[in-house]
Structures are given as C-alpha cells and as structure tokens.
C-alpha cells in the first residue's frame, strides 16, 4: 500500500465541493444546540454523561470524517485513528476497573458474604482459614 507511486509527479486528490463543508458546519451548529438542550434534561445519574459524550462523539466523528478528509484517506490512516482511541479506552477501562472493583466491600457476616457495592456478589461460602483458637466473634471488616 505504500508503493502506489503516482504516475509521474501529479497528486490525484479529488477536492470536495464546498457544499460538503458548509453542510458539516451546519450539522455541527445543530449538534451544539442539541448538546446544550440535552444537558438540560435529567436522564438520571450517569446516563447524562453518556448522552453528552455521545453527542460530542457524533460531532467529533463528523469533523474527522469530512473536515479531516478521513473518508478519502488510506486504510492506514483510518486504522491509526481507531488505534489512538482504542488505547485511550484501554487506559480508562483498566483504571476504572480498579476503582469500581474496590467498591464491593466484603462484610463476611454470619450468613456469608454480603457486598454493599452497587453490584452484589451474592453469597459465597465462608472461607474460614482455621486460626489456632477462635476467640469471641466480632465483625472484622476489610
């Protein structure tokens, strides 16, 4: 894919009509209005962020696809855009994986484990390593 040297010197590069650019500009203006409108509605909890990011994502894709001419670009350029975003997602997912994983605070009470985090792990048989002598019961917290 690197070797399709153009025949001779000229660079074939088809130039998009102006209407494409103005069209995208209008789309972006609309989406900005939508961003503000969407922010006034309470979708409850974390859904607000998801919706806000989705609208911003659409705007960003429009800019990338048309303004930055990725639609005419080689597959390699498309791949590099996706790789960049993919590794950013890796950073976010694994970092938050750690933080969300922590919220399941285990309280090994009598009836087995009860997690207080948003997602309950359910009852897991009590793992009781045999201390030499079991003194009086008392809540031990992680």
């Amino acid at each position: 894919m690197a070797q399709q040297h153009g025949n001779g010197h000229s660079v074939q590069h088809h130039v998009a009509p102006v209407i494409h650019y103005v069209g995208v500009w209008l789309l972006l203006m609309l989406l900005t209005g939508l961003t503000v409108a969407v922010a006034t509605v309470d979708f409850g909890g974390s859904l607000n962020t998801v919706v806000a990011l989705a609208v911003a994502g659409v705007k960003a894709t429009a800019v990338i696809w048309i303004f930055m001419e990725v639609r005419h670009a080689q597959p390699l350029t498309k791949l590099s855009v996706i790789t960049g975003i993919f590794f950013l997602v890796i950073l976010l997912v694994f970092t938050f994986g750690d933080y969300f994983g922590r919220s399941t605070t285990f309280t090994p009470l009598e009836e087995g484990w009860r997690s207080d985090g948003p997602h309950s792990v359910g009852t897991v048989p009590e793992l009781e390593p045999k201390p030499a002598h079991a003194p009086a019961k008392g809540p031990a917290k992680h």
Partner: protein, 223 residues
C-alpha cells in the same frame, strides 16, 4: 517537511522522497501519528477528570454551575466556524489558489484569537472570584474540596487547550505568510493540509471539553 526546491514544477519536493504523492502520504500519516499522541496526552487529563468527577459529583456540579454557559457556547460556535474556514483554506490550497487560501487562513486566525480573547475574559473572572486552585483558593464555598478539584482540571484542560490554540495561531501566521508568497500549488499543499489536521484536532478537544466542563450541572437548573 518540504526542503529546498530547485526546478519550478518540483518546487517543494524534499530530496529524499520519490515524488509528491509519497511526500504527501508520509507527512499526512506522520501528522496523524502526532495526533494520536495528542489524543493520549489529553486522554490522561480526561481520565483524571472522570475519576474525580465520579468521586466528588456535587463539588463538580456546583463548580460547573459557576461557569458562564453563554461564553462557553459562543466559544464552541467560534471554534466550529474556524474549523469551517480552515477546511475551506485547505480546499482552496488544493486547488492551488494561494490568495484565497491566505484569506481563509486569516479568517481562521481571527476566529482563533476571538476564542483566546473569550478565554482571557473567563480566566479573569475566575481569578477575581479567587477560584484559581492553590493557596488563595476561596475555601468558604460549599463542597470546597470538590470545587477546587474541578477547577484543577478546568484550568489544566482549558489551559492546555489554549496553549495548543496559541501554538496553532503562531503556525497560522507562518502559513499566511507563505500563502501570501504563493508557495503552494495543486501538487504541493501538504503543509496547509497538516495545519488543517492540527486545527481540527484542537477543535475536537474543545467539542469534548464544552459539555464535560460547562454543561455538567445544567439539568439541576440554577444557572
């Protein structure tokens, strides 16, 4: 990317490239790789922002409600317009029309400076209200710790974004001069296209910053 040029029709072709196609290919791909590093560079800040927002939601929402939505929205519109003028500049450069390119670049530069002007106003406002994190941060406000963390990221992110705008404006001036000298032609427009990629990227960063920083608590009302 373009080194000394000798014959007229191969003006702007660097010695180590076979032809214009390879040179454009290489420089565009190189720019995209640089933009990947920028995605991850801002990504680190977004990761920090997202984590602390999930830890201190009320602080972030209260602080975000102080921000002036109108100025933020106006800036977004200005930046989208500058993206349009930038794209038109690249298009006219591809057609080899140097004067038109120069004019669109000047428009982009003007919009960029308007954006920076609005930022200066906003920063001035924050400094007045002692909302700049650090020793003189006004800790009497509710959720002081959460608000201070919000302003940490507000100044870090918009500051880094403004820095990229300043660098962009400097580059625009350079390209305006070269366009004015008529350096570009339909085979040699790579540098302006790369400038366009950089500018559009900076616009995309703002597209994400605007909802995350300005519209955070809008649904709670109270603006």
């Amino acid at each position: 990317m373009s080194a000394q040029s000798h014959t007229a029709e191969s003006r702007g072709l660097a010695h180590h490239f076979e032809d214009f196609n390879q040179q454009l290919d290489a420089s565009t791909f190189g720019m995209w790789l640089f933009l990947i590093t920028e995605i991850l560079f801002f990504g680190g800040l977004f990761a920090g922002y997202a984590l602390y927002r999930s830890h201190m939601p009320e602080g972030f929402q209260t602080a975000s409600s102080h921000l002036n939505i109108f100025l933020g929205g106006f800036n977004t519109v200005v930046l989208i317009a500058s993206s349009l003028t930038m794209a038109m500049a690249v298009r006219s450069c591809q057609l080899g029309d140097n004067p038109k390119t120069r004019n669109f670049l000047i428009a982009t530069l003007f919009l960029g400076l308007v954006f920076l002007g609005v930022k200066v106003i906003e920063y001035g406002e924050k400094i007045e209200h002692h909302l700049v994190p650090g020793p003189n941060f006004d800790t009497s406000i509710p959720f002081a710790q959460g608000q201070q963390m919000f302003y940490n990221f507000y100044f870090a992110m918009t500051g880094m974004h403004a820095l990229h705008m300043i660098i962009g404006s400097g580059l625009l001036i350079y390209f305006i001069v070269r366009a004015h000298q008529g350096r570009y032609h339909s085979n040699y427009f790579g540098p302006v296209e790369i400038m366009g990629l950089y500018w559009h990227f900076v616009d995309i960063v703002w597209i994400f910053l605007f909802p995350l920083l300005y519209l955070l608590g809008l649904h709670l009302g109270g603006h």
